[in-house]
């Protein structure tokens, strides 16, 4: 059953060996040359499954991968039971929100510390499981890098996701995330990343309140 259709991949919820699983399939694009199409889908499927695996090694929960089919560009993975952070976060008490965001920050810190960036950090891509873990999903735009720029963009996207989806609690949540992040990467690296985020925002291409900074 198709549950989401993105620009690049479609997600299907299926039954396999008596359990619910997710099939992430990168469908062929008719408009591009088959050789380009094949290469891209193959590379990205491989790349994403590797990143999912490396994230686990970095201490960040991600879905269990059951099967990778490079021919069909399919990743078959665990359907993670739990609630999306996007839905659960607004229902929690301020204290719990802070705690959870700090945990998210620590997880992002673990990724960055292990040379990974997620590339698409939103509260829709995080699931809170019943045993209190946060599972990170969708590494399709992820990268293996330690570049300050990439780390800055990663966190900036997280901040933006909060500002657009959870604007009332955005500031508190994001500062809790940075606290958790600093616990893993240390104050020095964190302050450099924060400076980078500010620089990215001033480039103006992502934000609406730019006019205040003009001239």
């Amino acid at each position: 059953m198709l549950i989401r259709k993105g620009a690049e991949a479609s997600l299907f919820l299926e039954e396999w060996q008596g359990q619910r699983i997710i099939l992430k399939r990168r469908l062929p694009k008719e408009y591009r040359h088959p050789q380009i199409d094949g290469r891209i889908r193959n590379y990205r499927t491989l790349h994403e499954s590797q990143l999912l695996h490396q994230a686990k090694a970095a201490g960040v929960p991600t879905p269990v991968i059951f099967l990778v089919d490079l021919h069909e560009s399919i990743i078959m993975m665990e359907f993670v039971e739990g609630k999306r952070l996007k839905e659960i976060l607004p229902t929690l008490s301020p204290g719990k929100q802070k705690l959870l965001c700090k945990l998210v920050g620590r997880m992002i810190g673990c990724l960055h510390k292990n040379c990974l960036v997620h590339g698409d950090l939103t509260t829709s891509n995080m699931i809170l499981t019943n045993d209190g873990k946060i599972v990170f999903l969708d590494f399709g735009l992820g990268e293996k890098t330690t570049a300050l720029e990439s780390r800055g963009v990663d966190l900036h996207l997280m901040k933006r996701a909060f500002e657009s989806t959870h604007f009332r609690i955005a500031e508190k949540c994001f500062s809790a995330i940075l606290k958790g992040y600093a616990e893993i990467l240390g104050e020095e690296v964190t302050s450099r990343v924060i400076a980078k985020i500010e620089e990215i925002e001033l480039r103006g291409r992502y934000i609406s309140g730019r006019s205040e900074h003009e001239h």
Partner: protein, 341 residues
Amino acid sequence: MQGRKPEQVCLGIEATADDFGVGILDFEGKVLSNVVDAFVPESGGIHPREAARHHARVAGQVISTAIQQAKIQPEDIAIVAFSQGPGLGPCLRTGATAARALAAYIGVPLVGVNHCVAHIEIGKLATKAKDPVTLYVSGGNTLVSAFDAGRYRVFGETLDIAVGNCLDVFAREVGLRRDGVPFGAVVEKLGRKGRNFLNLPYSVKGMDLSFSGLLTAAITLYRTGKHDLEDLCYSLQETVFSMLAEVTERALAHVEKREVLLTGGVAANERLQEMLKAVADEHNSLFCGVPKEYALDNGAMIAWTGILKYRAGVTTPLVDSFVRLKWRLDDEDALWVTDKC
């Protein structure tokens, strides 16, 4: 001529790069004239100073011709609009100087226009698109944009050179000749005969694009002497257009708009049109290809955007009419875009 009320027409001057264009429109959006004089270098690329000299030489004549063709008198002009940026400094300054002089002479307000905004606005006017995702591809710009929260936002753009520049430099480096048509058209024609696809770097980073490595790789392949130029042109086109189509598709899926607008010099390429149309179809959107006259740099787009801004209450006082070489598309509130969201 007779009977035209003075507040009805705007003269726009476009001079961001190699083209010096003057367009005249009435406030209803009817194009009364649209004259372009292009600077064609004898060899190599566009030298900003040489292009500016060309503009200074032809400015008077192009303005006169535009006024004559529009069948108006200079006194009928209600506003003078000009491309204030982004672009090549010397060219921009030449156009701005002409605009300031003309506005002062007639005694009418000046309106500085963002060149990229103008491409989108004339595209909307020419194709009747209302709220599109725009792919603007030319020798100097490569970007994917859509209107959101008061501005034209940039969803993806090139991290290094523009796609048109990539095609031009490739054509020059492999010794192709223009023969009166743009290099892009030469590459397109050769590419149609290509049969064997050669792998080139495919460089999409998130929503952004990079063409410089790809260009070097294509030139290097050519220099090995092992490949047909037809195959190289074919592969180069397939690769860069796939990249553009992918980023456009991402933006379209993200913002969920119902139109895809293709504009800029590279928009003339039929293979690119075909791909973008397929992208639009897949997302139940309408493909809007801007006709060449308005897709290439032209004065009409500046005049039309000048009218839109003027009607929204924006004029540019002389002291603020300095040119803005790196004026970003998303650096301006699009006050005139109101009938949506």
